[in-house]
Point group: C2
Chain length 469, copies 2
């Protein structure tokens, strides 16, 4: 056991973190330099380097680590068992990152992280290396100030979250005993605004598709064939256009059939988060006029399903003009799902709708991109949420807010299916505008520091709650 | 004067061409090797090389040549005046070619021409170096077999037809006296089918646009922002989808207001060309189900206006998934116009329609790509058409057909505005499926040979008609 010197005041969690931030950032930058993009096969070795980096960081803190292989990219498991009779917390994070295109829009190269303007810049700074690192350093803080953790901590750091966690459920099933704990905490989300500590208790689900319309067997001269042959790019536009109606609702038949209605409590909580719309507008630079009429912005993003087009391609798009009927045109699309929509049913409804919209004269191929899943929602009335609430209030000095997350994180749902009785809590330290999936990703330095402190407090608060149960 | 040897039978036009085809092809291949793509600035020097090549070929035949500069790419002028009292024919062609992307779809490299399977393969083989060369060799045939041309011949070979002839009208105006003649012949179109010699007496016009929808100031995470922020790619799809209705008609208000109706004679002529639909289907590999309901395929392609999408771009279109609301999305679109649609009015109607379809929350920029123009139609009741009819019948041994051309060639309309009384005739030797604007362009070798013969006959037939007038 490390005793603090009798001559110095013992370091507190706050003072240790405060003093260590420069060193912590230096270490994190090393991790961010590894371009562990899971969606691009050429970065496979970088995923392994990213695993090794995290493993070394945890071994230094006395964790036992193990690389867990999957059919895809591996994940890292680590544990430090202080006392088998103590409660155990499983920390989930991920060590892979999003692609960086359009790379020319990055002010600083994506994998040359740097600290500037109160932010840490670089791909993965917020999503999710930076936030996973917050927990690693929360553990270090306990060990350096008290010589032990207040509870047993396990880490599972996934290697393919950014491609939709296609093998994570199998991994959890395979190592179900090893990963078991009294609660799961995930830091992979954003706070609603700076100074507003946030606990997320729900995520939206996702189904993602490639849609390709194929027409003539080659590009045709639009003069000689225009008026005779259907234009695949125009057919694609018509199919996409028919996915939502004039009220911004998804027009796929039966799409809303199983959508869970908000409870009165949630409606009340949501109305208190009305400021979220302003945050979104500040980041996006456009008014919040997307989505369904008749719902507030918060409802639309947190609790209503959506249809989005992520990309379009096909035919000619260089400088000037080329007069062709393109042979094919394609789109990447997805739907965000909410509780109780069933992804399997939605996939079928979408495919049927596309088929119905497909005219004679073209072929439309719809292929599901692996990695989707259902929405997730957790019961708020559990001790782990009270522990998080107290820890965040202590660290940030502000009243935390409970939110539903518009994004899709599949880990919570996967944990829920494996451990029905174990609560899953999301406590994120990102911020709106952090560019998690865009050029110029960043992490706020105050949130980095307070996130480590809040996580350290949370371990203690949860240990106390769990012991008193 | 070149006398044929008394020991040999004098060479006829047919026998000379027949014997010279291998040599002709060798020469043409040299021209095709020059990548004179007018839409790409990096090929500017290749346009000049292409001009020089054509100039040298004509100088060898005793033509005086001159490079005519414009604000854009230059054109080549050449003349051989046999006798100032004789009628003069102006031959129009172009020495620039279409881009070659997607280049990976070419079986043979686009600028390494070769002869195989009865075809000459390479970019520009049909459109339009090959067809321009047909006239150069028709002149050579006259000179080698008779020692003179049967009339005065002028060539104007344009350097930027494939970008819509933006400077050709100014060029014609500047050199109006120099280019004047009794008729203009253009070989830049296709025959309706192999063995069906074809005279075109009309073309469709064109207006071409870049449409860009801009939304948020950066790519956004579709989970955190989906439902709040309008998706530019989806807005673009809706705008494009609203350009045509369920009956395949262009839905832009006032679009059909000025469209000239077909005459009874034309309807009858068109119904005789019903086989065109089968040709189109054979090339395209899909049924002729595009365009307006209630019109025949021939009417739709020859005499009805259309709306086409040439390309789509925006957001993510790599492998796998990326969950963004793209910052922007864009399309290249055009409308083919028919007599009496006014391009200026159509441009305004289109812009107004796009503005009306643009929701709050996005900006839509519509920019016209230079090089469009109105449709063109010529009166068939003129001696030059009878001359062409006779020449084609003699060369091909089959009844020629009069067609309207679905494509847009701006030269005829430009000549018409400059020389109101001079007939413009299009006599093309391409074929459906020649891939004029696609990978693997080719020219049929029978048409190459018979095209030279027919052109040589046409000079004679027209000289006789013009003299007898």
């Amino acid at each position: 056991m490390i005793e603090s010197s009798v001559l110095e005041k013992p370091a507190t969690i706050e003072s240790y973190v405060q003093a260590s931030v420069p060193q912590f950032l230096e270490e994190l930058c090393e991790w961010l330099k590894i371009p562990s993009i899971s969606s691009l096969p050429q970065h496979k070795a970088d995923i392994l380097r990213s695993v090794d980096w995290a493993s070394a960081a945890l071994v230094k803190l006395g964790f036992k680590t193990e690389i867990l292989r999957t059919k895809g990219q591996p994940s890292l498991y680590a544990e430090r068992i202080e006392d088998k009779r103590w409660p155990t917390l499983l920390v989930y994070g991920h060590l892979d990152v999003q692609p960086v295109d359009p790379v020319e829009q990055w002010i600083r190269p994506p994998f040359e992280p740097c600290v500037q303007d109160g932010r840490l810049w670089g791909r993965g700074a917020a999503d999710d290396k930076g936030q996973t690192f917050i927990h690693i350093k929360a553990c270090e803080t306990w060990l350096k100030t008290r010589g032990r953790l207040p509870l047993n901590v396990k880490f599972i750091i996934e290697g393919e979250e950014e491609i939709g966690s296609p093998n994570f459920e199998a991994l959890v099933r395979e190592h179900q005993g090893k990963l078991a704990g009294e609660a799961v905490v995930i830091s992979d989300t954003a706070m609603l605004a700076k100074g507003v500590p946030t606990v997320s208790y729900a995520t939206r689900g996702l189904v993602y598709f490639d849609v390709v319309v194929e027409g003539p067997k080659l590009d045709l001269h639009s003069g000689s064939f225009g008026g005779a042959v259907l234009n695949p790019a125009l057919v694609l536009a018509k199919i996409l256009a028919a996915m939502t109606d004039r009220k911004g609702r998804v027009a796929i038949p039966c799409f809303y059939q199983d959508v869970a209605k908000l409870t009165k409590l949630e409606k009340k909580m949501f109305s208190r988060a009305r400021f979220v719309a302003k945050e979104i507008e500040a980041v996006a630079g456009v008014p919040c006029v997307g989505g369904e009429k008749g719902y507030s912005v918060v409802e639309r993003v947190w609790a209503r399903p959506t249809f989005e087009v992520h990309g379009l391609t096909g035919g000619f798009h260089g400088e000037g003009s080329k007069t062709i009927i393109p042979q094919r045109a394609g789109a990447k699309v997805s739907m965000r799902l909410v509780p109780n929509q069933n992804p399997g049913k939605i996939v079928k409804s979408f495919e049927r709708w596309v088929a119905k919209l497909t005219p004679n004269g073209v072929k439309v191929r719809v292929s599901m991109v692996p990695g989707g899943g259902p929405a997730f929602v957790e019961d708020l009335d559990q001790p782990v949420f009270q522990a998080a609430f107290r820890a965040l209030r202590r660290a940030f000095g502000a009243e935390p807010v409970f939110e539903r997350c518009g994004g899709s994180i599949f880990a919570p749902e996967i944990f829920k299916r494996a451990y029905a009785q174990t609560p899953v809590l999301m406590m994120g330290f990102g911020l709106p505008g952090e560019n998690a999936h865009a050029p110029n990703e960043w992490l706020d330095l105050d949130n980095f520091r307070l996130g480590i402190i809040a996580s350290a407090y949370f371990y203690e608060e949860f240990a106390n709650k769990a012991r008193n149960k």
